[in-house]
């Protein structure tokens, strides 16, 4: 039996985590391919016209999987381990997916304010009629894998920060940052222009800092990404940064709030800041010109 996982939105919150979990449970896992034109077209056609661009891309991935997998996994991510909420658009994903496609949807409510993630995963495993031992093993391996990736990202970050080239921070949600089509191949483009791109998501945060919940004169965001991005910006500002680019998908409601405060942080320190809005009509050439102009101002 094949379980399909759409490569969009929630997938990038914990990449490889779900894959590992289901593989060890003994299923064949099919992750939809990297975003391409066809997927975007499909998604834009099916989605509500006013929803955010990343969401439209997600529907494209889901439609791609619909006739290739027996089950499609769409979790309901509600709160993370610190009790902070995910984007409200995540709350409706499984129910909207059920409307859109006929393939059965496999789902579970991950509300860590109410129960631990291990327990929710165990329930999910029971639903698939697996014994406790296999489930425990799958959970352990998946969590280990995630930690390993995080450590590697942290090491990468320290290597990059040492670089002599002008360092540019890319700020966005993980689902826009890591998707090569959505981030406009920014990594490639910046490297070509002789700059060192740094992903905000890779900035390691000390454990003590997380538990303290430091205030910085900005609002205490109740969105997990909001709080994390603001904290990571504080962290990265300790280093010598040349410029910052924020990528935001069109109609992202949360970014409209977040941008105000992200921009302020950089403007106060007189660091050049570029705001890019992406949607299905974004042309590669236009972005290239703007990037070149931005690099020239540095």
């Amino acid at each position: 039996m094949t379980i399909g996982i759409p490569r969009g939105l929630f997938y990038w919150k914990n990449p490889y985590f779900w894959e590992t979990f289901f593989e060890i449970l003994g299923y064949q896992v099919l992750v939809s391919p990297l975003t391409n034109k066809e997927i975007i077209e499909k998604g834009v056609k099916a989605a509500d016209p006013e929803t955010c661009f990343s969401n439209k891309v997600f529907w494209g991935h889901l439609l791609w999987l619909s006739d290739r997998a027996d089950y499609i996994f769409v979790p309901l991510l509600k709160t993370n381990e610190q009790g902070l909420e995910y984007c409200p658009k995540f709350f409706g994903l499984p129910d909207l997916a059920k409307i859109l496609i006929k393939t059965p949807i496999l789902t579970g409510t991950f509300d860590r304010r109410k129960e631990k993630i291990e327990k929710t995963l165990e329930k999910l495993g029971r639903k698939l009629k697996k014994d406790k031992k296999t489930i425990d093993k799958a959970i352990k391996t998946a969590i280990l894998k995630e930690q390993e990736l995080k450590e590697k990202a942290g090491q990468d970050f320290f290597r990059k920060i040492q670089s002599k080239k002008p360092k540019i921070v890319l700020i966005s949600h993980p689902y826009n940052l890591y998707d090569e089509h959505l981030n406009l191949r920014m990594k490639e483009k910046l490297t070509k222009l002789e700059a060192e791109p740094l992903f905000i998501d890779e900035v390691p945060l000390a454990e003590t800092q997380i538990s303290k919940g430091v205030k910085f004169g900005n609002p205490e965001f109740h969105w997990e990404f909001g709080k994390e991005i603001m904290r990571q910006i504080q962290e990265i500002l300790k280093y010598d940064i040349t410029g910052a680019i924020e990528i935001s998908s069109f109609q992202c409601g949360c970014d409209a709030v977040l941008k105000e405060f992200v921009e302020k942080e950089f403007k106060d320190r007189k660091i050049p800041f570029l705001y890019l809005l992406i949607d299905e009509h974004t042309a590669d050439v236009g972005i290239q010109t703007r990037l070149e102009a931005f690099i020239d101002t540095l």
Binding site: E50, K89, D255, K264
Partner: protein, 357 residues
């Protein structure tokens, strides 16, 4: 402290009475019109909600007249962007050079903030309590009048009579200073008497349309281009369940949400912030009560309403109930809305006629 607050349809009267009775000097925000919207858009972040921009536009004239404090509700329990209105409004207004403080009231700090105001203005506990009771009574009165008008409009024999009386009433209510409960009840008596004089066709059973969606837009007639009036005059009875007193009730008694969730379980199994779930429940009620159509009003890009829209569309496909979703922002023109409403009215009337046979 010279205070102002967001303009919100007829509820503005209730907010004014509340603040005045708490001993605060109030400068009223300007009524929403195309000029205030234009001003608000100029200052606001581009992709923020439409109501946010409208609010900013309404504050500006009041700030120029000397207001220095803005009362704003902070919705700390929901997942919607209303939570950040106050802090972003304070930021952009200060950046624009206004010396202003946005006072954020939320369900946690509500009592302590009110206590502070009470001690500052040296008013007794009874006066403070009375201010809230008066305001709540006025909110109830406003909703009663609006509901009555919605009932009378399609049935009236001389067209336009209801609206004439309604606007006269609200004009009078906004002018008188209300300090006692008697003043409200005597006003209520007079108005109801006036309404009873309207001649109506009692046997008529007009087509019914439910209005669902974002609370601020559906209850502010200056923002939704007088939607209720327009449809009412074309012989359609509008039913609107979502209003401020319902919202206050939900804030005070959170377990209402539990019953709500149980009703909509087959369609959505989690909150999506704002009044997303309420829209689904109201539409299901419309199907159950054999209505002839549903209109959803939402600000362009509203997080909860956009999320539930595919679900409402699904209910529409399952039940065959005519459904129209209108998203409004600063670029929407009245003529465009009128055309779409006219077409929708035809669909509704068709549905109504077909049902008879």
């Amino acid at each position: 402290m010279i205070a102002t607050f967001p303009y919100w349809g007829n509820y503005t009267i209730a907010f004014r009475v509340l603040l005045e009775n708490l001993g605060i000097t109030v400068i009223l925000p300007e009524k929403t019109n195309s000029r205030t919207i234009e001003q608000g858009v100029k200052f606001s972040p581009e992709l923020f909600c439409f109501p946010f921009k409208v609010n900013v536009g309404n504050y500006l004239p009041a700030l120029e007249k000397g207001a220095n404090t803005i009362f704003m509700w902070e919705n700390i329990r929901g997942s919607c962007r209303l939570r950040y209105y106050w802090i972003v409004q304070q930021k952009i207004l200060r950046e624009a050079g206004y010396k202003v403080k946005v006072l954020n009231l939320n369900s946690k700090n509500f009592f302590s903030e009110i206590k502070k105001i009470k001690n500052e203005n040296k008013i007794s506990l009874w006066q403070c309590l009375k201010a809230f009771l008066l305001a709540f009574k006025i909110i109830k009165l406003i909703e009663e009048l609006e509901k009555k008008a919605n009932f009378l409009r399609p049935r009236e024999i001389c067209p336009g009579q209801t609206d004439k009386i309604l606007s006269q009433c609200f004009e009078r209510l906004s002018k008188i200073k209300i300090k006692k409960f008697q003043e409200i009840s005597s006003f209520q008596k007079q108005t109801l008497w006036k309404f009873s004089q309207i001649k109506i066709d009692k046997k008529l059973n007009p087509p019914k349309v439910g209005l669902v969606g974002e609370i601020y837009l559906i209850s502010d007639s200056s923002l939704n281009f007088d939607l209720e009036k327009k449809l009412g005059q074309q012989g359609i009875e509008i039913h609107r369940e979502m209003n401020l007193s319902h919202h206050i009730k939900k804030t005070a008694f959170p377990w209402i949400d539990w019953f709500l969730q149980r009703k909509i379980m087959p369609y959505l199994c989690s909150t999506v912030g704002g009044h997303g779930r309420d829209a689904i429940k109201e539409m299901l009620d419309c199907v159950k009560n054999d209505f002839d159509g549903v209109i959803q009003l939402l600000p362009f890009g509203c997080l909860p309403e956009v999320t539930v829209r595919p679900i409402l569309t699904k209910i529409h496909q399952e039940s065959g109930l005519p459904f129209l979703s209108l998203s409004l922002d600063e670029q929407v023109a009245e003529a465009g809305i009128n055309t779409r409403l006219e077409a929708f009215v035809d669909v509704v009337k068709n549905h109504y006629e077909n049902k008879k046979h």
